[in-house]
Amino acid sequence: MKWVTWKNIGVDRMACIWLIRRWIDPAAEFTFIPVGEKPLPERGEPFDIPGARYSHHGGHCTFYALFSEQNLQDPVLQRIAQLVDEADEVQEVTLEPAALGLDLICRGLSRISRDDFEALERGSLIYDALYAQLKADAAKSPRNENQSEDR
C-alpha cells in the first residue's frame, strides 16, 4: 500500500512509519509531498496531515491514531504512544521525561539525513531500540519476576 505524508519528518512521523512497516503493512511505500500541498495524491493513505483520518485527534498524535485504529494490543506500543503524544503535542499532564529527548533526537536525525528516506531508516532504528528496551524493562519488573517464581 502507498502512504503519503509531508516532507521533513520528525518524532511522530518517524514513529508512524516504523509502526506501519513493523506492524501494519510490511510492504508499505512512502511518498513525501511538500508541506501544505493540495490536492493530495489520489492513490495512497495520507497520514499526519491535518484533517486526515490518521492524524492528530483529541489531543493525541498520529501514532496514537494508528495504534488505536489498528487495535494493536501491545502495552509497549501504548507506552510509545504516550511518549510521542508528549513529544509532539502540548500536554497538561506529562508522565514521560524521555519525551523531550526523543523529540530532540528525531529532529537532529532529520537534520543530518540527506532526505526523508534516509531519515526514516535511521528513525526506525531509534524506535526498534526504544521498543526493545521498554519491553525488556517491563519484563524485568520485580512483580513479573515474583510471578515467574511462583509458578
Binding site: 491535518p50 509532539d88 529532529r107
Partner: protein
C-alpha cells in the same frame, strides 16, 4: 528580527470545558494573549508544530481557527513583545532563586519547575542560566 506565529479562533459557546481546555493548552505552550484577542508565539520548529495541531484540534471541535506567520513592522513593538515573553519566565525564575537561598530548599521540586519554565524560555533568559548554575552547585551539597 523574529518571526511570529499568531492564532485566533472561535469555539462553540458550549460546552465551556472545551474553551478552558484550549486556553490551558495555549498557556502551557508559553503563548501570550494580546488584547484578549490574538495568541502569539515565536516561530520555532517546536512551537509551529504545536500550534498547527492545536488549530486542527479547534476545527475538529467545531470551531474555527486562523493560524498566521507574521513579522512585526515596528521594531519597538517587537521589543515589547520579546520583553513580555521574558517577563513571563523571569517571574518564575526569580521565585526559584529566592527558594534556592533558603536552607534546605526542595531541589527536586525546584528543578521540576525550572524545566517547565525552560520549555517556555524562548529568548534564553539570563536569570534562567543563574537558576541552572545554582542548582548545579547545590547538587550533592550536604546541608
Amino acid at each position: 528580527m523574529t518571526n511570529w506565529l499568531l492564532l485566533h479562533y472561535k469555539l462553540p459557546n458550549k460546552p465551556s470545558a472545551l474553551r478552558v481546555y484550549i486556553w490551558r493548552k495555549l498557556k502551557r505552550s508559553g503563548a501570550l494573549l494580546l488584547h484578549e484577542a490574538v495568541w502569539v508565539l515565536p516561530d520555532l520548529p517546536r512551537t509551529a508544530e504545536q500550534i498547527q495541531w492545536l488549530a486542527a484540534e479547534i476545527e475538529e471541535m467545531g470551531g474555527n481557527a486562523f493560524y498566521w506567520q507574521a513579522s512585526s513592522i515596528l521594531s519597538a513593538q517587537e521589543e515589547s513583545i520579546v520583553h513580555q515573553f521574558q517577563e513571563q519566565v523571569d517571574i518564575v525564575y526569580s521565585r526559584l532563586l529566592k527558594r534556592l537561598e533558603k536552607t534546605k530548599p526542595d531541589l527536586q521540586e525546584i528543578s521540576r519547575e525550572y524545566q517547565q519554565a525552560l520549555s517556555q524560555d524562548f529568548f534564553h533568559s539570563n536569570l534562567g542560566l543563574l537558576v541552572r548554575e545554582k542548582l548545579t552547585a547545590k547538587r550533592g551539597e550536604k546541608s
